[in-house]
């Protein structure tokens, strides 16, 4: 087994950072997390995606030892989340979904105290503070107290703070909430850098673009149950189902629409609400439908402005899965 240096200690690199088996959390007999089983591989960014109230944060709270599971088991970095919780907490970092900071201290003071809490030596703290202030665009606000910062700056402080100490595994619970696109990109890139230097990341979000940008594998959770778990491409392939054909013609739309509606293999048609929008044809076998559409256009002598197949985005797949309910499939 490969060995990695983590801080001053040496630990064996394991295949899975997180392993859960039938992990369940009930509140008042209602399962918030319902028999969830999955693994997170060492060195990957594992996305845990789901709508609000899906069970993402409760799962994180169990894995970070804040909550005890009702039933089921889980291990984090090889340690049991119930019986070896203190060993886990020394090795992980957590950015909570809720805002969290020291109200009385400046940005710099917050970073320094957090590093001190994690027993980071003074010289290392100073260096890290400078690096993080720079990376997260907080240099000008270093002497400012959190209540005087914008929501986005406070969030950046909270995320930056967690990088004051080394973690083998980081739990990032919707870390980009409240950030503008540029700050979001900087944050995600910094997380990627950390992953390349050996940190594993457990990342929750309901912004699918973020997941596509940063995650190696994802699990989609809804109502406490995992609906899918795989790479993003595989999930799109398995669960995407319907592709969309975008079509815009210069004139003769009325006649075309009538012909399209009679076409075999079409799931549904979405008519444009504005002049610049294309007509959208949803079909399972988009290639076959596209060739039939081309036949119609050719025979009608229409002038085509746009005709292309758009593969379903993760957003499309996500919405489709959440709306279809129940149909669960685990890797």
């Amino acid at each position: 087994m490969t060995k990695v240096f983590f801080g001053s200690s040496e630990r064996e690199l394991m295949e899975y950072c997180v392993e859960t088996a039938e992990l369940t959390k009930n509140y008042d007999k209602v399962a918030v997390v319902d028999h969830v089983s999955f693994e997170v591989r060492s060195g990957e960014v594992f996305g845990f995606l789901g709508p609000n109230g899906a069970g993402k944060t409760t799962t994180i709270k169990m894995l970070t030892t804040l909550l005890k599971p009702t039933t089921g088991h889980a291990s984090v970095l090889g340690f049991d989340i119930v019986s070896e919780s203190s060993k886990i907490r020394r090795l992980i970092g957590v950015v909570q979904q809720e805002p969290s900071y020291e109200m009385a201290l400046s940005v710099e003071g917050n970073l320094d105290l957090y590093g001190f809490l994690w027993n980071v030596p003074k010289k290392e703290r100073r260096d890290k503070i400078e690096l993080l202030l720079d990376k997260f665009g907080l240099k000008d606000a270093r002497k400012t107290k959190p209540q005087e910062l914008s929501v986005g700056q406070r969030r950046r402080l909270q995320v930056a703070r967690e990088f004051m100490h080394d973690s083998e595994l980081m739990f990032l619970d919707e870390p980009t909430t409240g950030l503008d696109p540029q700050a979001r990109r900087i944050t995600l890139d910094f997380v990627r850098e950390k992953v390349e230097s050996g940190t594993t990341v457990f990342f929750t979000t309901h912004i699918m673009e973020e997941a596509e940008y940063i995650c190696d594998r994802i699990a989609i959770i809804n109502n406490g149950r995992i609906l899918a778990l795989d790479t993003i491409d595989n999930i799109k392939r398995k669960f995407g189902g319907v592709s969309v054909i975008h079509l815009r013609v210069a004139d003769g739309k009325g006649g075309l629409n009538l012909k399209l509606e009679k076409l075999a293999g079409i799931e549904r048609i979405a008519y444009p609400s504005g002049e610049d929008e294309p007509l959208k044809v949803y079909a399972k076998d988009a290639d076959a439908v596209l060739s039939r559409i081309i036949d119609i256009i050719t025979s009608s002598g229409l002038h085509v402005e746009e005709l292309r197949i758009k593969e379903p985005s993760l957003d499309d797949v996500f919405v489709q899965m959440i709306n279809s309910k129940g149909d669960t499939s685990n890797e």
């Binding site: 709270k61 970070t64 030892t65 804040l66 203190s86 907490r89 020394r90 992980i92 957590v94 909570q96 809720e98 805002p99 969290s100 900071y101 020291e102 109200m103 009385a104 201290l105 003071g109 105290l113 001190f116 809490l117 994690w118 027993n119």
Partner: protein, 254 residues
């Protein structure tokens, strides 16, 4: 460095230091008690009989006011928990390399240190009254023990209460309601020897009485007859309240 020491440092830096304006305000009322009420009542109550001796009322009052500072300082312990919960620092810390036990111990010890600092400042304020008094080594033990045990008791008590109360506003209201009888049903303001029997009995069940009598014994060399029992009782209730607070703290959801 030990996890507890790091948490204690955090409490002192981010918690207590942030409430420094509150600390200063807490020193205003003792000033009035000692130099205005103390001198005014001395005209009415020239000397007070306490166990083995008689002293002027302003000298009698000063140790009681110092001990009361510990009680007021302890109210900050509960407030610190509320602030930590509101700003999610409570859960953040419990997801770090710390235990609940270390968290509560750091709160109690930081409150103890703050209570002692407050008491020391009031002691300085009252020092013109205390000129000429000599404190024996045993007296010094009484002084330190009364401050430590008093802080431990009131710090643990307020932390335990904060666990069961759902809002910061309710917490402050409960403390106000609780502190008033504790202050007046004690030996802080008047000697119990001449108090009505009902007040005497209730006051003798009040840990504030024990702490005030211990401090008086240490500072002034004047002992109430029940002092040995009071020392034992204060030790027991202080440790008991700390254990109770630790158990209650397990209920707090992070």
């Amino acid at each position: 460095m030990n996890s507890f020491i790091r948490l204690l440092y955090r409490d002192l830096k981010a918690g207590i230091w942030s409430t420094k304006s509150m600390l200063v305000m807490q020193l205003v009322s003792p000033l009035f008690y000692i130099f205005v009420a103390g001198f005014a009542y001395t005209a009415v109550i020239p000397t007070s009989n306490i166990g083995n001796g008689k002293i002027n009322y302003e000298l009698y009052l000063a140790p009681g006011i110092i001990v009361m500072q510990i009680m007021f300082a302890a109210s900050i312990a509960g407030a610190m928990l509320w602030i930590d919960k509101r700003l999610e620092m409570f859960s953040q810390i419990l997801m770090g390399p710390f235990s609940r036990w270390q968290y509560i111990l750091s709160k109690v010890v930081s409150i103890m240190l703050q209570g002692m600092l407050n008491a020391f400042l009031v002691f300085l304020i009252a020092s013109p009254l205390l000129v000429g008094l000599s404190v024996s080594p045993l007296g010094l033990v009484y002084i330190v023990a009364s401050l430590i045990l008093g802080s431990l008791f009131f710090g643990s008590l307020t932390l335990a209460i904060s666990v069961f109360i759902k809002s910061n506003e309710s917490f402050n209201a409960v403390l106000n309601v609780m502190f008033t009888p504790l202050m007046f049903l004690s030996s802080v303001y008047y000697p119990l020897t001449s108090a009505p029997i009902a007040i005497r009995i209730l006051s003798l069940a009040n840990p504030l009485t024990y702490a005030a009598d211990m401090l008086r014994a240490g500072l002034l060399g004047i002992y109430v007859p029940l002092l040995p029992l009071e020392i034992i009782a204060l030790t027991v209730v202080s440790l008991g309240s700390f254990v109770a607070a630790t158990i209650a703290f397990r209920r707090v959801k992070a």
